[in-house]
């Protein structure tokens, strides 16, 4: 029987799509990478996903799990074809107020989860800029961050357990509300694996109490270096604000033009910082940060006076990627991460690369944890521009790795950065990762050819068999 017939026998006609327009709709995520799926399915639960996995294995076609498709690295683009498994029908939320946890369907939208938990005074900490669209399943797949993961950590710190469909359609439940499940922390390896080890269907998340008070500071500077130094000095002073974000002049102009949030467009850089906690704490922390900013020649320090003002500032920050559409049809974005002590020199290098190629670049990034988002606006239809943009992107990554950074802070590797992995890891590191993938997915059905570059598995390593002459090794 055909693949689609088999799938329809299990999921019903409506939940298996194969019309060209539908296939086109699910042929890519928010990256530039497009694929060609054979069909798109909408399973309702783990049991249905398990059937899909078994059918995919029987037909020898790949499975690409997809939440809202907001990923920026091609992780959810079906670049090798196959079945796109859309998780949005798995959207139940079961809150346990006493234990401050919730079992959440993979298809639940990040912001919806926090809206549902808010009446209980609880929230889910990871808050990617795409939080009004992205799903918890996608957050788990990418170990997503967001501005507020500076103090609370990325998604992996908030995943206590999960229900996941593994190879051969095996449904496994891992972790739980009790801490430190004995044995290997297998779920820890699944978080951030970009759908290459299995399909996560439900997640047990940690919820945090909503803090009683908050101060949001908007600080303006005449140079990016002054702003970056303020970030380093804040961390060095022993403060871990809830968020510490930077936008450069170009980005402020674009956002302001779109949103009129009152951002100071005459400044070279702004910092958006937030401290949370009890009233006394936030007041004193905010004044320490303001003092550090002034010492670093801040031209203005403003504290949001009302919840509306605070919301507007955050909207401005989180709209940055949307606003950039005004500059050009496409944007190319990296999210390399560097030690916070190397921010100033890295920013200088990044601007120099953009200048060298005459590119339009705007910067908005999670300065507090050293996670850069240099964003190049361009027209992808022009082949030469395309080539230059990618060349510049590679140079930016190289500059970040040179100071001890890493390829990706929160967007993932997917297809986009897959072939740069060799710059970040040794052959043996990649081989170890490839072994992990093989253990989970011997048939290679789960999101193949993502994350790891081809040939990562080095079969020629003969560690065990190689004879070592006596006495030669110490």
């Amino acid at each position: 029987m055909s693949l689609v017939t088999d799938l329809r026998a299990v999921l019903g006609d409506e939940d298996v799509m194969e019309e060209p327009v539908e296939l086109h709709l699910f042929s890519k995520d928010a990256s530039l990478m497009r694929g060609q799926p054979t069909c798109v399915v909408f399973p309702a639960d783990a049991a249905e996903v398990a059937e899909v996995v078994r059918i995919a294995e029987a037909h020898g076609v790949p499975i690409v799990a997809r939440g809202a498709g907001t990923g920026l690295a091609g992780g959810a683009s079906p670049t090798s074809g196959g079945i796109v498994v859309v998780t949005t029908a798995m959207n139940e939320v079961e809150i346990d107020v006493e234990n401050r946890t919730a079992w959440v369907g993979a298809g639940v939208i990040n912001l919806d989860l926090s809206k549902q938990t808010l009446p209980f005074g609880l929230h889910f900490a990871p808050d990617p800029s795409s939080q009004s669209a992205c799903t918890i399943g996608g957050n788990v797949a990418n170990n997503s961050g967001g501005p507020h993961c500076l103090a609370e950590g990325s998604t992996t710190s908030h995943v206590l357990g999960m229900e996941v469909v593994l190879a051969q359609g095996e449904i496994a439940v891992m972790g739980g509300q009790a801490p430190d499940t004995p044995g290997l922390d297998v779920k820890g390896a699944i978080v951030g694996s970009e759908g290459t080890l299995g399909v996560v269907t439900r997640v047990l998340v940690r919820l945090l109490p909503v803090e009683p008070d908050v101060r949001t500071l908007l600080m303006s500077f005449d140079s990016v270096e002054d702003a970056a130094r303020t970030v380093s000095d804040t961390i060095a002073a022993g403060l871990v604000p809830a968020a510490l974000e930077m936008m450069d002049r170009r980005m402020c102009e674009v956002v302001e033009n779109w949103l009129q949030a009152g951002l100071p467009i005459e400044s070279e850089a702004i910092l958006l910082s937030e401290v949370v906690g009890e009233s006394d704490g936030v007041t004193s922390q905010a004044s320490v940060i303001a003092e550090i900013a002034r010492r670093n020649k801040a031209t203005d320090v403003e504290i949001a006076e009302t919840p509306e003002h605070r919301a507007l500032l955050w909207k401005a920050r989180k709209s940055a990627f949307g606003a950039i559409a005004q500059l050009a049809t496409d944007y190319y974005l990296h999210d390399a991460v560097v030690p916070r002590t190397r921010l100033v020199e890295t920013m200088k290098a990044v601007y120099a690369i953009a200048d060298k190629y005459g590119l339009t670049m705007a910067n908005v990034f999670h300065a507090g944890d050293g996670n850069l988002h240099p964003l190049i606006a361009f027209d992808a239809n022009d082949e030469e521009t395309n080539r230059i943009v990618h060349q510049a992107g590679d140079e930016i990554v190289a500059a970040c790795l040179r100071v001890g950074g890493a390829l990706s802070g929160e967007h993932g590797i997917g297809v986009e950065k897959r072939d740069l992995m060799r710059h970040n890891f040794t052959e043996l590191d990649l081989d170890a990762q490839a072994r992990l993938k093989e253990v989970f997915d011997p048939a290679g059905v789960f999101n193949p050819r993502k994350v790891l570059p081809q040939g990562s598995r080095c079969f020629d390593f003969g560690g065990v068999r190689r004879e070592i002459p006596d006495g030669a090794w110490v």
Binding site: L184, V186, L436, F440
Partner: protein, 365 residues
């Protein structure tokens, strides 16, 4: 019994490791190269290796009958402390106490176990145990940024990175936390540090309702029936919080020692059941309960009542783990977690000859 020969070419790495199993050969490598070579050699000869930090967690799991005990005591250097970045890279054998003393100069903390004794960074990561501040500052697994380890067959593998936020590649370093060295010998670790703010206080309160006056305290501990709230922040913040709690406030933090006894236990339950679990302890077991987390550390003279306690813990989705005792008299882990076959396959990829702490993990893997 044990080792039938004495490898002469490594005799110069021999050390005496008090408390480590006999009659195994005790050695302490000085470099990563040593570790690689020793493990390759042991894999070839099928010699079992027990990895040794400070010996604090050697009671966890089924005992290993090692041919070699490999102490990490000589690989104890702080390779890099980026105080302004709040990160540190240290050799596995670095003692927590030593490192804490060093970084306290800049008011920073590892936020690993507060009463570490001889415990090492590698040992705590391998055992997957956390500090009492984990409810606020997160547990060890959340704080590990990078792990460098040597697999059972002698491959040097690094996972993660020296940055505070990173999604580059698979998180093998998280698998290494709590794996008791079964994937590889941890040689160095990069950890995220926490700043220690100037204000600290401890307030004794009468019940959890009273403790709830502070939204996110550093810790709420129950020590043998006495409930204490540990506060940390700016001085004025802590002062206001202490006042709101209304109990007896003392400046500073006096962290409790782990309860002492011939048998030691780690009881893990859903957070809301922490107090209930403390009430379930048999007899007069001394304990430290970490409220909001669901971790209870306890001790006893014998295992009497432990079986009933385990049944209860498992019935509520928790575990009773034996941290020290006689594994011949009591099963150290209890009902093994699901998915053992997958765990076994994972371990085999990293330690194909199964020479690193074989059988120590739940399910005898």
């Amino acid at each position: 019994m044990g080792l039938t020969y004495h490898p002469p070419h490594i005799s110069w790495l021999e050390v005496d490791i008090p408390g480590a199993p006999e009659p195994a050969f005790h050695l302490a490598p000085k470099t990563v190269r040593h570790v690689e070579s020793i493990l390759r050699y042991c894999s070839e000869k099928d010699l079992v290796v027990q990895v040794w930090g400070g010996g604090n967690h050697s009671g966890f799991g089924s005992p290993v009958q090692p041919d070699f005990v490999m102490s990490m005591e000589r690989m104890n250097e702080v390779e890099r402390w980026e105080a302004d970045d709040l990160t540190i890279v240290a050799g596995a054998g670095a003692r927590i106490e030593t490192v804490e003393a060093m970084i306290a100069e800049r008011n920073q903390s590892l936020a690993l176990p507060e009463r570490p004794g001889t415990a090492t960074i590698g040992g705590v990561v391998a055992a997957g145990v956390s500090g009492l501040r984990r409810g606020r500052l997160y547990g060890t697994r959340e704080r590990v940024l990078e792990v460098t380890m040597v697999t059972g067959d002698g491959r040097l593998v690094r996972s993660g990175g020296r940055v505070v936020k990173n999604v580059t590649g698979y998180d093998l370093h998280r698998l290494a936390v709590g794996a008791f060295g079964s994937l590889g010998v941890i040689v160095s670790v990069c950890l995220k540090l926490w700043p220690t703010p100037p204000g600290t206080a401890t307030v004794t309160v009468s019940d959890l309702h009273q403790a709830a006056a502070v939204v996110r305290p550093l810790a709420v501990l129950e020590v043998d029936g006495t409930l204490q709230v540990f506060l940390q922040g700016t001085e004025s913040e802590v002062e206001a919080q202490a006042e709101r709690l209304g109990g007896k406030a003392n400046p500073g933090h006096e962290w409790p020692d782990d309860p002492d006894g011939a048998w030691k236990w780690s009881l893990r339950v859903p957070p809301a059941l922490t107090g209930h679990a403390a009430g379930h302890l048999p007899g007069e077991w001394p304990y430290v309960a970490v409220h909001g987390v669901g971790e209870i550390r306890a001790a006893s003279a014998d295992p009497e009542g432990a079986m009933e306690l385990r049944s209860w813990a498992e019935s509520v989705g928790g575990h009773l783990v034996m941290a020290e005792g006689d594994p011949k008299l009591f099963d150290p882990w209890g009902t093994p977690p699901p998915g053992l076959a997958l765990q076994k396959r994972l371990i085999t990829e990293f330690d194909p000859r199964r020479i690193l702490n074989p059988g120590r993990l739940p399910g005898g893997i």
